[in-house]
């Protein structure tokens, strides 16, 4: 099922290695800070951490061109950061401030940014898939060569919308790439308890859609698989499906006693931490040094503390503006 085009391994050079590490670390530190701010009640509502899955967003989003479109879920801080939405505007959004990328109306689950064609942040499982299919349809009808990437968790595979969207995309050969983040659990429900067939690539195949799995803890493998898929989609061959096999290190959201899995299982997976393993690999390969890591760490923590200051300093949207944006303020587009 794997398109052969561009099948050779990525050549990893120093810059590339530094970038991958920096992107993954930014997500990790950003979310560690977010968890802290949640306990401090600066961030409220639901907060879903991506910690452990960073390689997927980094590999997947980097495979896109700046003018491609993307759709994600409520667990989308990582994707938004890699896509280039500013750390400050995302943090301000989670604070509920007017300076947030969604003016504080969306919060953690609803990050939107037209500048980077980031179409959310959707809190209904499976709810973003039809949107991605429609964005791809628009590209096709307008004759562009742009691709739409749709990130979603393996839990969404059980939803009827997954089925309808896979079929529609394949039937119409739309330029959409389905990036399934299989972290083995949908809240507390293990994949084996929600799917009669747990090999998700077989499902994709039943729509005649090329599909392949990839180690979601290996950022290089993720980027390769994503680039291969995006290339195939961009070449007009219709949609592709990539299953990223990954794992969520933290709770599903901030209230989750995690009765459904053992500490030991979590510890086993942590040995495959995408950041630690990649860092070790890159060090061994002599691509990066301990100083590089310190420099990146420093750079990131500065960026994040600036973001927090920005969010703190932000303004609350005036209460009298409550009902703005229910209907458009422009009469025409």
């Amino acid at each position: 099922m794997v398109p052969q085009a561009d099948a050779q391994r990525l050549k990893l050079d120093r810059d590339h290695a530094l970038t991958l590490l920096r992107e993954m670390l930014r997500i990790r530190r950003f979310e560690e800070k977010s968890a802290e701010l949640y306990s401090a009640a600066k961030i409220r509502g639901f907060l879903h951490l991506y910690i452990g899955e960073e390689a997927v967003a980094v590999g997947g989003v980097r495979a896109l061109n700046p003018d491609d479109a993307m759709v994600a879920t409520y667990r989308e801080h990582g994707h938004a950061l890699v896509r280039g939405i500013s750390t400050a505007s995302i943090m301000a959004e989670m604070f509920g401030k007017q300076e947030g990328c969604s003016r504080g109306r969306g919060g953690s689950m609803h990050i939107f940014d037209t500048a980077t064609r980031f179409y959310g942040g959707n809190a209904i499982v499976g709810g973003g898939l039809p949107i991605a299919v429609g964005l791809a349809l628009a590209e096709k009808m307008q004759g562009t060569s742009r691709v739409t990437a749709c990130f979603f968790g393996e839990g969404a595979v059980a939803e009827g919308e997954f089925h309808e969207c896979m079929n529609l995309a394949a039937l119409w050969k739309l330029p959409v790439v389905f990036f399934c983040e299989n972290n083995l659990y949908a809240m507390g429900t293990a994949l084996s308890r929600s799917e009669s067939e747990t090999d998700l690539t077989l499902k994709a195949a039943s729509y005649e859609m090329p599909a392949w799995p990839v180690d979601g803890m290996d950022v290089i493998a993720c980027e390769e698989a994503a680039r291969r898929a995006v290339l195939s989609v961009r070449s007009g061959e219709g949609p592709c499906f990539v299953e990223f096999r990954t794992y969520r290190f933290r709770a599903h959201s901030m209230y989750d006693p995690q009765l459904y899995r053992t500490k030991q299982e979590v510890e086993e997976w942590k040995k495959r931490d995408p950041i630690a393993t990649f860092q070790a690999r890159a060090r061994e390969a002599g691509l990066i040094s301990a100083e590089d890591v310190d420099a990146i760490d420093h750079e990131i923590s500065t960026e994040i503390s600036r973001a927090v200051e920005f969010a703190e300093a932000g303004a609350w949207e005036p209460e009298q503006d409550l009902t703005r944006f229910v209907y458009s303020e422009k009469a025409h587009l």
Binding site: T114, I131, V133, L137, Q142, E161, S328
Partner: protein, 333 residues
Amino acid sequence: MNTAAKTIRITYREAIKQAIREAMQRDPRVFVMGEDVGRYGGCYAVTMGLLEEFGPERIRDTPLSESAFVGAGIGAAMGGMRPIVEIMTVNFSLLALDQIVNNAATILHMSGGQINIPLVIRMTTGAGRQLAAQHSHSLEGWYSHIPGIRVLTPATLEDARGMLWTALQCPDPVLIFEHGTLYNMEGDLAADAGAIEIDKAAIRRSGKDASLITYGGTLHKALKAAEELSAAGIDAEVIDLRTLRPLDTAAILDSVTRTHRAVIIDEGWRSGSISAEISARIMEGAFYELDAPVARVCSAEVPMPYAKHLEDAALPSVPAIISAVRGMVGENG
């Protein structure tokens, strides 16, 4: 000018088709998507012939996947197109309700005003053809509970011909409900009939003794009732709401302030129908003008039975409207 005088003989069905044709000729971004809109010619023949004229890219037959193709309409609208999504009937729209309520109606707001969804969804509504409980809903009033969407109910040839283009110009999602019993309605329409505003109610018959407030399929029952009442010396005004969201409250209150009596006619089930909202607004805005409590003539609260005599008994009828008006004009009249 004298072309304005020219009229053509046309049906409601044909008026909608001409509106679609004109829109597709005027704007290359407009396309039609839905079940059997192409090869079959539309389940109510509204799109008959358009496939031949515009081709399968712009007159898209979809699989039976209501949630996916309605959601794809949302995405395509975000992506720069101007989709007209046809859902065969309101009964099936329930399968797409999550996309309408959780995405179409919320994304402008959740994105802090960044993302518009210029989407038009057309569907057939209403009973009267012995289609029984699963094919006879009138849910347009129910839909109008949802902030973020607009709800139109064309009941005349002018509106069938003119509301669509204006809806397509609107930056927000618009739902158009076409009552199934109106498609064969025939009459004269100005040859140059075109776009028409979509947020004002219209007085279809002016009168001084009572206001009959209605829309869609029941407009014609109200007009007939008004005729018969005038024979009996009661001069009823007939208000066609035209748009259920936003409701033209001013027009409603203005009429009631002149007639001091109101009967609301609504094919929706009585409890929680739009007729309740109208009654409540009159309570709040014209209480001291009322000579009698506002009355409602709605559908009986029963899943629609198949047998004709039972269906007739379940629906608002001309005699029921007449007796409601008589009852109230009797009182301190």
